[in-house]
Amino acid sequence: MYYISMVLMSTKIDLILKKYKPGRREDLIPMLQEIQDDSGYLSEEAIIRAGSFVGLSTTKIYGLATFYDQFRFLPAGKVQIKICNGTSCFLNGSQYVINKIMEETGLDPGQTGRDGIFSYEIETCMGGCNHGPVISVNGEYHTHIKADQLPELIKKLRYIIENE
């Protein structure tokens, strides 16, 4: 099963790489974005493939990809939470929200739990500055979040996923 999924993934990467011309460094970021959109994260294999495709070392690609917040290197959870930590949200107390989520899920930003349900990331601004703190759950925005609303929300989400 694992083997099949690996093969599937590598053919998927190949399909994406086919759209680009080899050896062009400027295509690197769109390429990585597309791979991430497709498989949810940048696997080691994806980084190696993209590297040999544009002619850069894995080290360089990894260095570049870690520079941007948008790339992740572990598969995302089924529930992907993004928390805004921009200036406005920060002033409205996003730090409490982040701490609460950390406490509730037991994860650090960018990590995915062993059960594969939750993963969360901290974003710099999501554009909802007058509704802060803002979080997004699988693309759905929740505004004016307070830390004490979170335990219930997370419980609900976990229930939904577990009983799907």
Partner: protein
């Protein structure tokens, strides 16, 4: 075009196209720099070299700004000095306070800058960087808490070595330098050449020390302590200890090493002689068989690892001869063990080299027989200098003594092997002597000796023509590949990882200026002109080894022991 600019109310001459910094330096004005490296494109990242230019609001980085005719520059105005001071204070704000225990204490650029800028108290405090110590590599230690993110190591690794094993990872305050996927060094494509160690201003990257291990064994009476040193060691030790080198030092070093407590002292040059002879055999055989592929010299362990990782197609063409250090190591564990009637496992064999990759090589696969490694510990020249200081030995007052038999002497060609192009020269000179029975003129090798990172020359000995290519600093490999792709055929290719060869190795003193490095090469060439034994085949030591000792020792008489194997490596490239 030469014009004058005004600096600190004085007129100085500047050339069009040069940077402010080079104009200032030529006129005797010193500006502190940190991220700058000579012969590299400036990045202007650290802002240490800022100067005030009249008419500009902001301070200008002297290392990257081209000089212009209208410029009026202030190099040490209060504003500039405050700016520089603040930069160093900010760098120190999260730097660990363990200078006393630091590897680069008294030899650290950050420390020197803090001293130069008269920083005597911690004005800015911030959270210390989380310590992370990567000791996984046999040669290089990475201490992330000491890194000031100047990026020099990254540039050397990418531009000179072209192995691109390290880069900045993450951003902002979590930026750090590391290999692909943030792994440890032993899983990376690092080839252990140590050029990053040479350029690191702090101790964020330093060599792995084997001193404690050596000391431990020095205290064991039942063990036979044996040391071998490369021909560059006397020069390097003199430089590191701050004394003037002369030829007597080549013999003084023997007595110094004996005073430390080593029972037997050998010269790695003998191993180089064997290496050259074996290489000459291989080359002659190839020429006789009209092989159309080149023979790659494998004396540089960093290059071997590079080839195994990045150029697996050349692995069949690599000469399988071990490096001089390993050959000498093998002879110590076989011949010397037999002569002194001790078991090989009771011998502790140390090697002193100007190289960090040798530390890796001693741990390589195939450098061990029946659980006994050819070389037990490898010290860099810096480490040996520490050992000399530790044992309180006055080198200026030591006797001149010869090295021990059977590896007491070397030919002068084996010392040339420390300079890039030298091994190839040695092989060609040996081949020349074998074919024509006369010595080749040294003038012929001028083309191989110095120049840029890729050099080629062809030699015609009688009817045979030998094409030789020399690469130093692995970026020369690109030119080699291009030349090969254009249809040029070579018989012998020497590749050295460090620019200039071993004289620029990572185990030598840190503050060696460019002139010192040039003088290292000059001394070696001068010695070659005057030495009586110029070729391995003329060396009585080698003749004795080959005709008597190696022949008589059943274990090594087939010479298989001098050879090893190389194979493709699977690492993240």
């Amino acid at each position: 075009m030469v014009f004058t600019i005004q600096v600190n109310n004085k007129k100085i001459r500047a050339e069009k196209g040069e940077t402010i910094l080079s104009a200032l330096n030529r006129n005797g004005i010193i500006i502190p720099t940190l991220c700058r490296m000579k012969d590299f494109t400036p990045t202007g990242a650290c802002r240490m070299c800022v100067v005030e230019v009249e008419g500009r609001d902001r301070l200008v980085t002297a290392c990257s700004q081209p000089v212009e005719e209208w410029m009026k520059i202030k190099t040490h105005s209060p504003r500039v000095i405050t700016a520089r001071k603040t930069i160093v204070e900010l760098l120190l704000s999260n730097h660990p306070d363990d200078c006393l225990y630091c590897d680069r204490n008294l030899d650290c650029e950050l420390q020197r800058l803090a001293e130069e800028l008269n920083i005597s108290e911690r004005r800015i405090r911030s959270k210390k960087i989380k310590p992370r110590l990567d000791q996984s590599s046999p040669a290089i230690v990475r201490e992330l808490s000491k890194c000031i993110l100047c990026g020099r190591c990254i540039r050397v690794c990418e531009e000179i070595i072209t192995s691109t094993s390290i880069d900045f990872i993450n951003k902002g305050k979590s930026t750090h330098v590391g290999p692909a996927m943030d792994r440890d060094f032993n899983f990376s494509s690092c080839i252990h050449c140590g050029q990053c160690v040479v350029v690191c201003p702090t101790a964020a990257l330093h060599e792995k020390h084997n001193i404690t291990e050596v000391q431990e064994y020095l205290n064991k009476p039942e063990i036979l302590k044996v040391i071998q040193y490369s021909p560059l060691v006397p020069v390097g030790i003199a430089e590191e200890l701050g004394i003037r080198y002369n030829r007597d030092f080549d013999r003084i070093i023997n007595s110094v090493l004996r005073k430390i407590g080593f029972d037997k002292v050998f010269n790695t040059g003998t191993g180089t002689d064997i290496c050259i002879s074996e290489l000459t055999d291989q080359l002659m055989e190839r020429i006789e068989n009209k092989a159309d592929k080149p023979l790659y010299i494998t004396a540089c362990p960093a290059w071997v690892k590079y080839a195994e990782q990045f150029m697996p197609s050349v692995i069949p063409d690599l000469s399988t001869i071990k490096s001089p250090q390993q050959i000498t190591g093998v002879l110590i564990k076989t011949l010397v063990a037999g002569q002194s009637a001790v078991k090989p496992e009771k011998i502790f064999s140390v090697s002193v080299t100007p190289c960090t990759a040798m530390k890796f090589e001693a741990r390589r696969d195939g450098m061990m027989r029946k659980g006994i490694s050819d070389v037990d510990a490898v010290l860099t020249i810096r480490e040996l200098a520490r050992l000399i200081r530790l044992y309180g030995i006055d080198v200026t007052n030591a006797d001149q003594e010869p090295a021990d038999e059977p590896m007491e002497g070397r030919s002068s060609v084996s010392a040339i092997a420390e300079v890039s192009g030298g091994l190839a020269e040695g092989v060609i000179r040996s081949a020349w002597f074998r074919i024509s029975k006369t010595e080749a003129e040294r003038q012929l090798f001028k083309k191989l000796r110095s120049g840029n990172s890729f050099r080629e020359a062809s030699f015609s000995i009688g009817e045979i023509e030998i094409n030789v290519a020399v690469v130093d600093g692995l970026k020369g490999l690109e030119k080699l590949k291009a030349s090969q792709a254009a249809g040029k055929r070579y018989d012998l290719i020497e590749v050295m990882t460090c620019p200039g060869g071993c004289i620029n190795g990572a185990g030598l003193t840190f503050n060696g200026s460019k002139d010192e490095k040039k003088s290292r090469a000059k001394m070696i060439y001068q010695a070659d002109e005057s030495d009586a034994v110029s070729l391995p085949c003329k060396s009585p030591v080698l003749r004795n080894l080959y005709e008597k000792l190696i022949k008589e020792n059943k274990e090594i008489s087939d010479k298989k022991i001098f050879y090893t194997h190389f194979e493709k490596r699977n690492v993240l490239l």
